[in-house]
């Protein structure tokens, strides 16, 4: 690290920091944060980036609803979640700043670099609004530093709107001593399709930001980085899932646009044709499921990608896939519900519907990647399970993983990840389309094109030959065989690993994207001398084995989930009437252990500190 701070500057070494860039929608915060995050990553820091997205396409500017931006958390070690409050913020106006303040996003001692021109704006209302915001924020110890962002930017460009973000980047680069050559490369890459001049101007702005900070700010932070020993990549969970689908050999993704899942298909649309595949944008989510199912029936294990309301629409088709035992992979990028709910925000409340959404008994596999890296690998696992077990595999990610950015070990590709070519060789004498192995329920799939294999698949109750049959024995056999596959899959799984001690006072159980935050909270509890461990589930249906035995080793067990549960002590809420977190409810049924839960559905990822506090509360 090459420190260029001048002598009067106070330099603190910290293990990590969380930074926010907050602007009106359309002011380029994303780009600034993207380059900053990439630069941190390339310098060997752990990084996690989260988007702040406004509710409207183009909300009125300079209001508390217009906030758009990014949070970048970076540190010496691996960073697995967005952390707690921000330590430093760059805000382009008082109102976006205020909105974040109201959401309690800033640390009590947060340094807030904010545009100073509003204070002296010609419009009295604007000045007043500014003054009020400052007053409201004075309840905290924020260190509010005025920066002439616009003024400085205008020295380089005519329209500050398209430049302030790079000036801001310069401020950050100086404060955290980022490597300018890396920044330059990133900027050049972003504008590679534009005239070289654009890159130059942007770099110039960065440098101006750095200069201003050097001249005016009397602090810097050092966040050391570790030597990078392995090849790493950095991307969002949706990018990882899209690349995972390609790596898994999926050659058809049928989808209908829906936030926050759509970008998976954007990524795929951009590249899949190079891999012999296509993205089919269907007329609705029902058709998307149908097209994927038809393609899978034709021998390609296809993917459909959606979020809550789209999952609701696919309900009927999933049952058909399960009944006819046609492999299908469904990626549900969870958002806040119910109904249209919180379209851009994170929640983990599609678990129960993923497990039980279909009328009738419809066993299916549900897995939840726990990190952006697992978003990639889970697509490969999902495709393989779907094909081996002739079943539906639902992959549950969420808006947090979807748009979060993190590094992970670059995968070493394996050609076995790809789907095997369809076997069209003549069938063994007498082989039937559902020749279930009576032990395992498994059977060989017969794909159209196979000579002598003609049969008609149906969603009606059927026998081994796929003939419609309504007799009790056939129906019960079919149910049994479809159910058996789950038990067989479960027998191949290992008990989930425990993070922390193998026994103790409290076990925190999570699933999916909350792993990083939970483990960080557990670390904190451990440091505080508490006997707390955690365990993050990936398989939700079937559940990983050994849970009851694991739970028995702890005095208390609770789940932590981003969904709704009643609070005992609230009016009318008793042990008996309480509605639990979704995983807690399943685990109670499964293990009969009195599993408690701490859940919350703020439309944001959970913060380690909130989890830590819930631990303190429950361990009492």
């Amino acid at each position: 690290m090459n420190s260029i701070a001048n002598s009067k500057t106070s330099i603190s070494t910290v293990s990590e920091h969380t930074v926010e860039i907050i602007t009106d929608s359309g002011e380029g915060a994303q780009k600034c944060a993207h380059v900053f995050g990439q630069t941190c990553a390339k310098m060997g820091n752990g990084v996690w980036t989260v988007e702040i997205i406004p509710a409207e396409i183009e909300p009125p500017a300079h209001t508390t609803t217009s906030t758009s931006g990014n949070i970048v958390r970076f540190g010496t070690e691996k960073i697995t979640n967005w952390g707690d409050q921000s330590k430093l913020a760059v805000a382009f106006n008082d109102q976006v700043c205020l909105s974040r303040h109201r959401l309690d996003s800033f640390d009590d001692n947060c340094i807030i670099l904010h545009e100073c021109s509003w204070e002296t704006h010609e419009d009295e209302n604007v000045r007043e609004q500014y003054a009020k915001a400052m007053e409201e924020m004075s309840s905290k110890n924020y260190r509010l530093i005025k920066v002439p962002i616009e003024e400085e930017t205008l020295k380089v460009v005519d329209n500050a709107q398209h430049g302030k973000n790079m000036f801001a980047l310069g401020l950050l680069a100086e404060i955290y001593q980022r490597d300018l050559s890396i920044i330059e490369k990133q900027i050049a890459h972003i504008f590679r399709h534009k005239p070289a001049k654009i890159t130059e101007i942007n770099v110039e702005l960065v440098k101006r930001g750095m200069a201003w900070a050097r001249d005016n700010l009397k602090f810097q932070y050092i966040i050391e980085s570790k030597p990078v020993v392995e090849n790493r990549v950095v991307m969002t969970g949706n990018q990882a899932a899209a690349l995972g689908a390609v790596a898994a050999g999926m050659e058809l993704c049928a989808m209908y646009p829906i936030t926050p899942a759509t970008s998976v298909s954007h990524e795929l649309a951009a590249i899949i044709e190079n891999y012999g595949g296509i993205v089919h944008q269907a007329e609705d989510e029902i058709a998307a499921a149908g097209v994927a199912l038809g393609a899978s029936y034709g021998g390609k294990v296809a993917l459909t990608v959606t979020s809550g309301p789209g999952m609701a629409l696919k309900t009927e088709f999933l049952a058909l896939a399960i009944m006819s035992e046609i492999p299908l992979v469904v990626l549900d990028v969870q958002r806040g519900g119910p109904s249209t709910g919180l379209p851009t925000k994170v929640e983990q409340s599609d678990l129960l519907s993923s497990l039980y959404g279909q009328p009738g008994d419809a066993p299916r596999i549900v897995i939840a990647p726990r990190s952006i890296e697992e978003c990639f690998h889970s697509m490969i696992t999902a495709r393989r399970i779907a094909e081996t077990f002739r079943c539906v595999v639902i992959v549950l990610t969420d808006a947090n993983l979807a748009s979060g950015v993190q590094q992970f070990t670059r995968p070493e590709f394996d050609s076995r990840w790809q789907q095997d070519p369809v076997d069209f060789s003549a069938l063994p004498e007498g082989l039937r389309p559902y020749d279930w192995d009576p032990e395992t329920g498994l059977s060989r799939r017969i794909v159209p094109g196979t000579p002598g294999g003609q049969h008609t698949v149906t969603g009606l109750a059927h026998d081994e030959s796929s003939k419609v049959s309504y007799d009790p024995e056939s129906n019960e056999r079919g149910c049994r065989m479809r159910s058996r596959k789950l038990a067989v899959l479960q027998s191949t799984l290992l008990p989930p690993p425990i993070y922390g001690e193998e026994k103790g006072d409290l076990l925190v159980v999570g699933w999916g994207s909350t792993q990083g935050a939970i483990e960080e909270a557990v670390d904190r509890a451990h440091d505080a001398g508490l006997s707390v461990s955690s365990c993050q589930l990936t398989f939700l249906s079937p559940l990983e084995p050994g849970l009851k035995e694991i739970f028995s080793r702890y005095r208390k067990v609770m789940t932590v989930e981003i969904n709704y549960s009643d609070t005992i002590g609230d009016p009318y809420i008793t042990e008996e009437t309480r509605r639990y977190g979704q995983l807690a409810w399943i685990l109670r049924a499964q293990t009969l252990v009195d599993i408690d839960c701490w859940t919350s559905c703020p439309g944001q990822p959970l913060r380690p500190n909130d989890i830590y506090n819930s631990i303190l509360e429950k361990i009492k």
Binding site: A41, N231, G276, A282, V291, G294, F413, P448, T456
Partner: protein
């Protein structure tokens, strides 16, 4: 499959290696006696024999309804799907396996009611599917409910005092969709025309939509009786590029030259209710065919990995 038995009635096949129409029968059709679905099944079997299609190289996809039992009765791959959703399944199958011949069989409720959205869009995609709408103007399988194509005044279990809406015309609706490339109408009681229409549909590259007026003696015994009894109520649309079945000019007095490339006239004819019109209303072979335009060359696993490595370079830290 008894490929050695050649039906004497099946004039196309006199070569003992060939498959006869009967060889394309799987289970025996379980429809009511006199059901028009039998006629459609027979015409399809004749077509398959005529074309000598390999049973394993075809798939019949359907929804739910009496008519949707069809795939169970054809010696081919079959997908008896869910109500209204045959078209997405067929589209997916065709995208995955463009080399297969894919037929779609739907009922009027299946296609024009619950399946209406898919119908519009599948027409628009124009995938190379041969599509049979078996239109008996009623819900058969669920036992007598009004369908969108039921004539106004239909007494059914859901409209006991007579249905209130004029019927939807599946031809006109299909003609209303941009990219509709083949629209024809035929009737189960005119086997020669039915066969010739299916032949033309099969030959058309694109989404060939054939509405087959289908008698349901169980629930709509009366809807087509006039036309069945009196051939003068029917007008054949004829054209050198249309549906041409030998001998029909003897049966039907009324016939009209209609150039199937004339979309305005096609719509105007579909609009008129003076006579029942059978024949090809519209065909345009120039529209893009979805499975053609979406076909991409296969890539080997090795090649994919090579490309993925490059892709990942973009994300490398």
């Amino acid at each position: 499959m008894n490929s050695n038995v050649i039906s004497l009635l099946n004039l196309e096949n006199d070569n003992p290696q060939c498959l006869a129409a009967e060889d394309y029968q799987k289970d025996e059709g379980k429809w009511c006696a006199g059901c028009g679905d039998f006629g459609a099944l027979n015409a399809v079997k004749r077509l398959l024999a005529k074309e000598q299609l390999k049973p394993e190289k075809m798939a019949f996809v359907s929804g739910i309804g009496c008519s949707s039992r069809f795939p169970h009765y054809v010696n081919a791959y079959g997908f008896h799907g869910i109500h209204g959703r045959a078209l997405p399944i067929a589209t997916g199958l065709k995208l995955a396996r463009p080399e297969l011949d894919v037929f779609v069989v739907m009922g009027d409720g299946d296609c024009t009611s619950i399946g209406a959205g898919h119908w519009i869009h599948a027409t628009r995609y124009n995938a190379n599917l041969t599509v049979l709408l078996l239109d008996n103007n009623i819900y058969g399988l669920t036992k007598n409910q009004t369908s969108p194509t039921s004539p106004q005044g239909t007494i059914s279990n859901t409209s006991p005092s007579g249905s209130v809406l004029p019927p939807l015309d599946p031809l006109q609706a299909t003609l209303g969709v941009s990219n509709a490339s083949f629209v024809a109408q035929t009737a189960d009681w005119v086997p020669a025309h039915l066969y010739a229409t299916l032949q033309a549909a099969y030959e058309h590259r694109g989404f060939s939509f054939v509405r087959i007026l289908q008698r349901c003696p169980k629930f709509t015994p009366d809807v087509f009786t006039e036309q069945v009894k009196n051939p003068d109520l029917t007008e054949l649309l004829v054209h050198e590029n249309g549906v041409n079945a030998p001998g029909l000019d003897k049966l039907f007095k009324a016939s009209r030259e209609h150039d199937p490339t004339d979309i305005d006239e096609a719509r105007a004819l579909a609009q008129r209710t003076d006579l029942l019109r059978l024949g090809m209303f519209f065909r345009d072979e120039s529209f893009p065919v979805y499975d053609d335009i979406r076909t991409v060359s296969p890539v080997s696993a090795q090649e994919k990995i090579r490309k993925l490595e490059k892709e990942f370079d973009r994300y490398a830290v």
